[in-house]
């Protein structure tokens, strides 16, 4: 199986440049190649999840270790990686399906698919790479293509949002690079597994570097004090890209790396754990409260992303604090289960909501909720799928959002963080309220003033939305123990058995 690992980077990169060459000769080549590529990657990931246990590692270039110092670039595939790869390729596939009709309005349609594929390559490479410098390189590939995709329509607000996103993104990348420099200075290696073996180095050094990493990747993940770019960038982008950014990108290039670095690279640290817990809680509350006041539907969804990511970060923070205090591993595992399940679920329902918003915008050309209304009869598929997504994100049974939120709240209670459990419930109520607003003003209020005849969106868009809505229901099955053990538990194990990473990778 090991030889298949580099394909996660090779295939998206190669197909991007094949599109660039063949795309100008054959029309619609890009769409076909992108869909095939993402379908293949999804199947490959499923095969990996179902067939292989434990950690796989692969060294690029085939240089053998000298003594016990790893020289080659490592690619590592463990439970957490597989989960993220599944999210990236599956949501990517559905979003690409949606884009087929959505992108017709663009003049440089071909380039959209090239950049999409490059973004996939960057995220895959980032998730799969085993050393921090390659994480930085792939981070930049993903980030640069996302900067361009945000501004793809070259309208006023898109350019402005993209510029803001770029300045903060560059700042984050520089801080990350600086932190990587410090790590190399302190340890003389870049391989994550090898760095974690070089422990212990001085506590102040670790705190300083962790702070740099936390700010850098916090900016990429839009955790609370660093979130200011997200509402602009995610709401201005073309809708499939908003779905990719909110559903996948902030997880793959932000949260994933935070988990990987703070669990597997650094030893767990009480201060960092507390910081993560507090930041997660704050972004959960503030994102939720900011979302209520929004009238632009995509902006509302963007703020809701901050809030939902806050849930994930908070749950991970709960688990971290328990593990730092040497508390019960079962409760910590429970918290991580909730976090990762919510990560998976959020990628499904948030991309679905952004696709719904995109469908509404595609048909009516309006994004302001006050001018919309009464679309439930005219756009039945969009309306029903968005209802499912809204119920799911608000945590109504039997949809997937309910289970993950329930697990997070239960974990908070079992860890004796009663006030966090209370806040999580309260924010859940806030979530319900702003999604009721979303539903009411777009689909059920009195009809707005539309110039043209409103029709349901074309077939590929509807199919994409229906698949995601079905996934919203099906992911509830993740709580069944046998499925959970197959999909989520390997990922939870990576976080729980945080010190076994280096032995698993380097042997």
């Amino acid at each position: 199986m090991n030889a298949w690992i580099p394909l996660y980077v090779v295939i998206p990169l190669a197909s991007a440049f094949i599109m660039a060459i063949l795309g100008r000769l054959v029309k619609n080549m890009g769409k076909v190649i992108l869909l095939i590529e993402l379908l293949f990657l999804t199947c490959l990931t499923l095969v990996f999840i179902l067939n292989s246990k434990g950690t796989l590692s692969y060294n690029v270039g085939g240089f053998p270790d000298v003594g016990d110092i790893p020289i080659a670039i490592y690619m590592v595939m463990d439970g957490l990686t597989k989960l993220l790869l599944l999210i990236i390729s599956a949501v990517g596939f559905i979003t690409a399906l949606f884009s087929i009709s959505y992108t017709r309005e663009y003049t440089a349609e071909r380039k959209f698919y090239i950049l999409f594929s490059l973004m996939i390559a960057g995220m895959n490479g980032m998730v799969i790479s085993g050393d921090i410098f390659n994480i930085y390189v792939f981070l930049e590939i993903a980030a640069i293509s996302s900067y361009i995709l945000v501004a793809f329509g070259v309208e006023k607000h898109q350019l402005e949002a993209s510029f803001k996103y770029q300045v903060l993104g560059c700042l984050a990348s520089l801080l990350i690079l600086l932190a990587i420099g410090f790590i190399y200075w302190g340890t003389g290696t870049l391989n994550i597994a090898d760095i974690s073996r070089q422990l212990p180095y001085s506590a102040n050094f670790i705190k300083f570097v962790s702070l740099l990493f936390l700010v850098g990747f916090g900016l990429k993940a839009a955790i609370f004090p660093f979130h200011s770019w997200l509402p602009d960038a995610h709401s201005s982008a073309p809708s499939p890209i908003s779905a990719m950014l909110s559903g996948v990108l902030i997880k793959a290039i932000g949260l994933y790396v935070i988990f990987r670095l703070f669990f597997n690279m650094f030893a767990l640290n009480a201060d960092i754990a507390m910081t993560i817990l507090v930041l997660g809680t704050l972004s959960m509350i503030i994102g939720g409260l900011m979302a209520i006041g929004q009238w632009d539907m995509k902006r509302l969804l963007a703020y809701s992303s901050i809030s939902q990511m806050g849930y994930v970060v908070m749950a991970v923070g709960i688990g971290m604090t328990i593990m730092v205090k040497d508390g019960s591993k079962t409760i910590a595992a429970f918290a991580f289960l909730g976090a990762l399940l919510h990560l998976l679920n959020h990628s499904v329902f948030k991309s679905l909501l952004f696709l719904n918003a995109g469908a509404v915008e595609y048909s009516t050309g309006i994004r302001d909720m006050r001018k919309l209304g009464g679309l439930a009869e005219k756009m039945p598929i969009t309306s029903k799928t968005s209802l499912i997504a809204s119920l799911s994100i608000s945590g109504i049974p039997p949809f997937n959002g309910f289970f993950s939120k329930l697990i997070i709240i239960l974990a908070a209670v079992r860890a004796h963080y009663y006030w966090l459990a209370f806040l999580a419930v309260a924010v859940s109520v806030v979530t319900i309220s702003y999604f009721m607003k979303f539903q009411k003003y777009i689909f059920y209020n009195k009809p707005g003033e539309y110039d043209n005849q409103i029709k349901e969106v074309p077939a590929p868009m509807s199919i994409a939305m229906v698949i995601l809505a079905l996934l919203c229901l099906m992911l509830s099955l993740m709580v069944i123990p046998s499925i959970r053990d197959q999909f989520i538990f390997p990922a939870v194990n990576v976080l729980i058995k945080n010190l076994q990473y280096s032995t698993a990778v380097l042997g």
Binding site: V167, L174, L177, R299
Partner: protein, 112 residues
């Protein structure tokens, strides 16, 4: 020690530029300055007093050459920095076409 302090000062100059300047181009220049300071920091990590270049030649000593890995990292970082700077400049030109100004206070169609 002094080179590291100078490097930090360069970093702070760039940060100051990003935070205080109102002109898009000046913000980009601030970012570029920060990037150079980080690159400079990386190259100083690998430096050895009196070390030779890490090239296999007659004068090569196995125990006295500067670390080539930070240099490879910097080359990569420079390429990435080139891409980001070029993209930022392209965006700035497009923004100038739309708004007719580089002043960030007048570019504010996004609110909330």
């Amino acid at each position: 020690m002094i080179p590291f302090i100078l490097c930090l000062i360069l970093f702070l100059i760039g940060l100051y530029g990003i935070i205080t300047q109102k002109n898009l181009i000046k913000i980009i220049i601030g970012l570029a300055i920060m990037e150079y300071s980080v690159n400079l920091f990386l190259i100083m990590i690998g430096y050895i007093e009196g070390g030779t270049a890490p090239i296999f030649a007659e004068k090569f000593h196995l125990n006295n050459y500067v670390d080539p890995l930070p240099q490879a990292m910097i080359l990569t970082a420079i390429v990435i920095g080139l891409a980001t700077t070029a993209l930022l400049l392209a965006m700035a030109i497009r923004l100038y076409r739309k708004y007719g100004t580089f002043d960030i206070r007048k570019i504010n169609s996004l609110k909330g």
